[in-house]
């Protein structure tokens, strides 16, 4: 009994000691759930083809990933974070105050956001203005759109928004505000339509002017006003937050042919037999058109690496080499098979250089 007891005590001490002693023999990645399907494939291939352990990848969302990433340097902090947007100035500052000095930025490719519906219904041809008018919380008064007056969104069918669209009720299933996909959708699709009203665009340029003039407070005020108009999504049940699970949205579209869904391009590609992507500004969400930048609702995906962890955690250099190799992110690489939209060749070369020579981004 006594022996047993001391064995337990010993093992607990070992457990705690081992944990805090400061060794980790695998790469620790956090970040965006949009990049997760791509990062995991690279991790798996890396684990299989090298002597290193397979990296651990946690899907925390872009914001959550940055928070963990910028908490400090050392084995208990992640080495890499993925993001479906660029790192923010505030996040970089936080990184610096916590001692995370050299951060290497690698753009890994693009992701298109599809607005899709069931194949049982006709394909939509939306303009970004249609998207904004159908989904914004407040819209310019339809009687006199340029008057600068906002009214709560009065539209209940697509036909009311644009007579060319079907007379279906507006019903859009999409990600919740915590999602990077939602941020990008608001920024690219809704803001894109919102800006087409001259007086709303004026607010943004006024804000910039105020900033130049040194009136920071006014600039901030105008900017947040602009954001509220352009990014505010209606809350009267026409936009349905369907959780982070894109598969669920696809299934619901199948069951309800009159609804539209918003999700990443890779889910559209995997379910092409059941759903179709709507045209946005006349451009369908197709691989080549997203890659060439013609499809308006697409965003870059990023990866951020801690320079100071290279050499301390085994395999980071090799992992970056694998990620930036042509067999992974090239035009015909395995990431493309998983739905990543590759960058043009010159851009790939540029970021490969940053990754292999470990060139940190400038603050």
């Amino acid at each position: 009994m006594k022996k047993f007891r001391s064995a337990i005590a010993m093992s607990l001490v070992f457990a705690a000691g081992g944990a805090t002693a400061g060794t980790r023999d695998y790469i620790y990645v956090v970040g965006s759930s949009t990049v997760y399907p791509f990062a995991t494939v690279v991790a798996e291939n890396f684990g299989k083809s090298t002597k290193f352990k397979t990296p651990k990848i946690e899907s925390t969302g872009s914001g959550g990933g940055m928070k963990l990433f910028c908490q400090g340097v050392g084995v208990k902090h992640p080495d890499i974070t993925n993001a479906s947007r660029r790192i923010k100035q505030s996040e970089l500052k936080k990184c610096q105050t916590n001692g995370v000095k050299g951060v290497i930025e690698i753009k890994i490719g693009y992701d298109g956001i599809a607005i899709a519906n069931s194949k049982k219904a006709p394909q939509f041809n939306l303009s970004r203005k249609d998207i904004f008018l159908a989904l914004a919380k407040d819209v310019p008064d339809p009687k006199d759109p340029e008057s600068g007056k906002l009214i709560p969104n009065p539209y209940s069918t697509w036909k009311e928004v644009n007579p060319a669209l079907p007379a279906y009720k507006i019903e859009v299933l999409g990600p919740p505000p915590t999602s990077g996909t939602r941020d990008a959708f608001a920024e690219l699709a809704m803001e894109g339509g919102c800006k087409q009203f001259a007086w709303i665009k004026q607010i943004k340029s006024d804000s910039k002017k105020a900033k130049k003039a040194g009136d920071k407070k006014l600039a901030k005020q105008l900017k947040s006003k602009y954001k509220a108009i352009c990014h505010g999504v209606r809350e009267d049940g026409k936009y349905i937050e369907a959780g982070e699970n894109d598969n669920l949205i696809v299934q619901k579209l199948e069951a309800n042919p009159k609804a539209l869904g918003v999700f990443g391009y890779s889910y559209l590609e995997q379910n092409e037999d059941q759903i179709q992507g709507s045209l946005v500004d006349g451009v369908p969400p197709e691989f080549e058109l997203i890659a060439s930048g013609q499809y308006p609702v697409s965003r870059p995906l990023y990866m951020y690496v801690k320079e100071s962890h290279v050499g301390k955690i085994p395999g980071i250099r090799e992992f970056l080499a694998e990620f930036t190799s042509d067999k992974a992110w090239g035009d015909e690489g395995y990431l493309v098979d998983k739905g990543l939209i590759p960058m043009p060749k010159e851009e790939r070369e540029e970021y490969r250089k940053a990754a292999t020579q470990l060139i940190p981004m400038k603050f």
Binding site: A19, E44, N45, G47, T54, E58, K76, Q270, K338, G339
Partner: protein, 430 residues
């Protein structure tokens, strides 16, 4: 006279009234029984629906599709020096052998795009298969062999569920028809599903990593929560004085049993990871968090078990001169043990199905390597189900259902064990 008539009339009425009320009572009784039966049938119906939907979706994940190809173990590719050095053999590019075999089987495919489509018929897992073959028997180099290789998930879905369920199209369908005509496609038991860790390729993904993770987590939970829970229950039930303080403790324990599990996850993050600096994603932390969650269940069940031991046992023991501690450990505890174990197993079954608290401590992650200790990063079964349910590839749908089947099987086994324990050891006092 009139009184008498009144009495008889009344008596008749009373009889009638009683009979009518009897009819009403019986009706009410019947109605209640029907409702009860209806509730049970409805419950069973939902259960049946759930099971049949999961099984009908998931059973196909237990078989996988293989493609037969004639592989030439080209010495030029595998070991150009001919030294048969194991390191060289392990790092050779076996993918080339598969591609060469496919090109040979379909010489009419010339264009790059067509070739890419062709190569996609075979899973990248085939590379591992070939590597294992060569490493186990280097004499195979230089020979030609017909081998069954793992097919890609698209081929697998096509072969198992037909054209509608697959992304194959155009030429690929023609190739599939050819393969079928040559009997070069077959299904076999999917051992991978039980022996491999997670993977992003559905045909290679397995649950072993998650099962091992679950095992470690449950082991730690059991090892900590059973002694702690039983000790707390014994103290509260047999030794502690009844006062305001113990009442307060009791209320808190009952409240804790109803706290949403995510709260324990947040607590675990703050205490174990941020304060004690234990590693994220480790089964040790998962077990500690789930211990917190199962403790109240175990304490409540154990106290109920102790309460059900009749006082006469205690009095007899004390009367024979046993100390209080002897009374508890020699007489009361053995009799209460079956009830305590039942409560523990049910608590553990609950912990086995939990994901929310593990989300906070980083156990929701893509982990390929199978954990070998309680400090290695790991996931657990329900988390694996969640991760697969969220994956874009269609073939993960059946994997998800199959993993649910495995989890349900574990839960049913644990509950059966609890019932068996109760049947075998429980003593009735009457």
């Amino acid at each position: 006279m009139t009184d008498r008539i009144k009495a008889t009339v009344k008596r008749g009425q009373v009889r009638e009234a009683i009979e009518q009320s009897l009819i009403r009572r019986r009706k009410r009784n019947r109605r209640f029984r029907m409702l009860g039966l209806g509730a049970v049938i409805l419950g069973m119906l939902f259960l049946g629906m759930m099971f049949s939907s999961i099984i009908s979706k998931g059973y196909s994940a237990f078989v996988r599709t293989d493609i037969q190809l004639e592989i030439y173990f080209d010495p030029e590719v595998i070991d150009p020096q001919g030294a048969r050095n194991p390191d060289v053999l392990a790092s050779a590019t076996y993918g080339k052998l598969v591609k060469a075999a496919l090109r040979k089987a379909y010489p009419e495919v010339k264009k790059r795009k067509g070739k890419r489509k062709l190569y996609r018929l075979v899973s990248t897992g085939a590379i591992q298969q070939l590597r294992d073959l060569v490493l186990s028997d280097p004499a195979i180099i230089g020979t030609r062999k017909k081998l069954w290789l793992i097919a890609d998930d698209d081929v697998d879905q096509y072969y198992k569920h037909g054209e509608n369920q697959s992304r194959l199209k155009g030429r690929q369908l023609a190739w599939m028809a050819q393969l079928r005509a040559k009997d070069a496609l077959k299904t076999s038991f999917n051992t991978n599903f039980f022996t491999a860790g997670d993977s992003r390729e559905p045909e290679l993904a397995g649950i072993r990593g998650a099962v091992v993770g679950s095992f470690f987590v449950i082991l730690i939970t059991l090892g900590l929560s059973l002694p702690l829970g039983v000790a707390a229950a014994i103290y509260l039930e047999e030794f502690s004085p009844r006062n305001r303080w113990t009442d307060f403790v009791e209320i808190n324990i009952n409240n804790l049993a109803a706290v949403p599990s995510i709260v324990f996850g947040l607590l675990g993050l703050a205490v174990y990871i941020n304060f004690f600096e234990l590693p994220r994603s480790a089964p040790l932390v998962g077990g500690l968090v789930l211990t917190l969650m199962t403790l109240p269940t175990i304490i409540i069940a154990s106290r109920a078990a102790l309460k059900s031991v009749p006082p006469s046992i205690r009095e007899a023991a004390l009367g024979m001169g046993a100390s209080k501690m002897q009374m508890v450990f020699h007489h009361v505890l053995p009799l209460a043990m079956p009830g305590m174990l039942t409560g523990t197993i049910i608590g553990l079954a609950q912990a086995l199905g939990e994901t929310a608290p593990l989300l906070m401590i980083g156990m929701v992650a893509f982990i390929v390597d199978i954990p070998s200790s309680i400090l290695d990063p790991a996931t657990v079964l329900p988390v694996q189900i969640y991760l697969w349910a969220d994956s874009p590839e269609r073939a993960f749908t059946e994997k998800t259902s199959a993993a649910i089947m495995v989890l349900l099987a574990f839960l049913v086994l644990m509950n059966l064990f609890a019932i068996w324990l109760r049947r075998k050891f429980e003593r009735r006092w009457d």
